[in-house]
């Protein structure tokens, strides 16, 4: 029964696009070398091409003549419950859907979305790892996977407003920009709330937060369930519609940006007048247009500093140059690049929901060692990033390995270096 449900989802997800991608694959295996889990462990099952194997089998056995023959003659395995169990671990615990594999595929196959389709099949078969499934259920029941209930949200805002002495408008009709934080920022990194509010206020932005769209995370995007993804996307878009905003700014969260900026348009109606962007892009725009001014070299005296490219914000989202432009003002002498970087940057190992799965901890720390090595090679004292999920992975990793490495959010640095214009 579980298998049938997964197969039906695989088949449902296999339209012309997915079929063409799978037909184009030559099994060259180049994608393996791009995968940080494969690189870190050498485990053949972690090769991205193997991660989509169940989708390929379902497609071939349903839609191709040779596949039907092979299946009928017993030359190719049918998908079984045991397969689902095995692949559930592979696609949820050993894949962050970072899509670095697609960068190296000589056939141009976009493997990330195909792996996401495998997760969709797993979700329909009830094969999502328990920790992740529990977090999804919390988001369904309470509106947040991390416990940001209505009460918690308001109490947190009040605390940050009072203690950081910063204005944070809430449910402001007529605001042009809706800013939505991720739950990890609200709970673990509340300094980010104050920092981003300071930046927006300094830029003179007409902005607001929303009680309805109070957090932007979308754990449905992690478990792969379209139903869940749509449910959580609607909360955000409905909140934006109610306030009549023209722009939604996703703060330092990667997967939520991918879900809202790219995936949402294929799943729900989003008013065309609403622009969706990321705080990294917005900060870059503010700097370029002179809406904010930063103290040049503010972080030059704090050792060497490097930037970690987040898969969903830099590689997927394209906000590659803005953080560098900002860091070249903030720390022109201290900023150094890790290699590889930009769109080829290696994932931190905690994305795609992996960080939420306790059983995946050894694997995510193993993958994180690649980042540690990259930072070590450039003698970095501080690693900066624009994704709070990456930031949590780095914070955990630094603790786990006992590293002498500082972890910083980009928005926090920008806020700390703001030059406040004297009141006229």
């Amino acid at each position: 029964m579980q298998t049938e449900s997964a197969i039906q989802t695989f088949i449902h997800e296999t339209g012309g696009w997915a079929a063409s991608q799978m037909e184009a694959c030559t099994r060259c295996g180049m994608c393996a070398q791009a995968c940080h889990f494969y690189q870190a462990t050498g485990t053949p099952e972690y090769a991205p091409v193997w991660k989509i194997e169940l989708l390929r089998r379902a497609y071939e056995q349903r839609f191709t003549l040779s596949g039907r023959f092979k299946a009928a003659l017993g030359l190719e395995k049918r998908v079984t419950d045991d397969d689902l169990l095995a692949w559930s671990k592979i696609v949820y615990e050993a894949c962050t859907v970072c899509n670095r594999c697609s960068m190296v595929c000589p056939m141009g196959i976009d493997l990330g979305p195909l792996i996401h389709d495998v997760r969709a099949g797993m979700a329909s078969a009830g094969m999502v790892p328990k920790d992740l499934a529990d977090a999804v259920q919390k988001q369904i029941d309470e509106g947040s996977p991390l416990g940001v209930t209505d009460d918690v949200f308001h109490s947190r805002l009040e605390w940050v407003t009072d203690e950081w002495e910063v204005d944070m408008p809430l449910d402001k009709q007529g605001a042009e920009t809706l800013v939505i934080f991720s739950s990890i920022e609200i709970m673990k990194f509340p300094t980010n709330l104050a920092a981003i509010a300071k930046i927006l206020n300094a830029a003179g932005e007409n902005w607001t937060l929303s009680s309805k769209a109070r957090e932007v995370v979308n754990f449905g995007f992690f478990d792969g369930s379209e139903e869940h993804t749509v449910l959580f996307l609607r909360r955000v878009i409905d909140g934006a519609k109610e306030l009549g905003v023209k722009r939604i700014v996703v703060t330092e969260c990667g997967h939520a940006y991918d879900a809202l900026r790219w995936t949402a348009y294929n799943l729900i109606d989003i008013p065309p007048e609403i622009e969706i962007t990321h705080i990294t892009g917005l900060m870059g725009e503010y700097l370029k247009t002179g809406r904010i001014k930063l103290k040049a070299g503010a972080f030059d005296g704090d050792g060497r500093l490097t930037f970690h490219d987040a898969c969903k914000i830099q590689r997927r989202g394209g906000h590659i140059e803005e953080p560098r432009q900002l860091l070249n003002v903030l720390a022109p002498n201290a900023f150094v690049e890790m290699t590889p970087n930009r769109e080829a940057g290696i994932c931190c190992g905690g994305g795609g929901g992996v960080i939420a799965i306790k059983e995946a901890d050894p694997l995510r720390f193993k993958a994180f060692e690649l980042k540690v090595e990259q930072a070590r090679q450039v003698h970095a004292d501080t690693v900066v990033m624009s994704c709070s999920n990456c930031r949590l992975q780095f914070t955990d990793g630094v603790e786990h390995f006992g590293l002498d490495l500082k972890v910083r959010g980009l928005a926090q640095m920008v806020a700390d270096a703001l030059i406040e214009e004297p009141a006229s």
Binding site: D131, D162, T191, L392, V398
Partner: protein, 106 residues
């Protein structure tokens, strides 16, 4: 004088001793410290009254590393938080000895 001080207890454990109500600058400063600190905390509230610190204890709870709190009676509800992958264990104890013993076992 600051309303809190950080003192080493032993390798991997710091005592965070509170001596008065926090100013906004002290809240910000403690938040910044918690972002960079990766050891365990022995939170000593013996220098203040419970009503002076409950609000901040509750707000700092999601950011805390593994921590043992003692020094004032605290309602267990104050430390309750939705179970999640990002949180560390935090417990309240009646005295320092119990708190430190638990912290060493973590």
């Amino acid at each position: 004088m600051a309303s809190f001080e950080l003192l080493p207890v032993e390798k991997g454990i710091l005592r965070c001793r509170h001596t008065g109500e926090f100013t906004p600058e002290e809240v910000q400063s403690l938040a910044a410290f918690l972002q960079d600190y990766h050891g365990k905390l022995l939170i000593d509230l013996s220098g203040i009254k419970a009503e002076e610190c409950i609000g901040n204890i509750q707000q700092f709870r999601p950011m805390m590393p593994t921590a043992a709190i003692f020094g004032v009676p605290l309602d267990a509800v104050i430390l309750e938080i939705t179970e999640s992958y990002y949180i560390h264990p935090v417990q309240h104890f009646d005295n320092e000895e119990e708190a430190l013993a638990w912290l060493r076992e973590q």
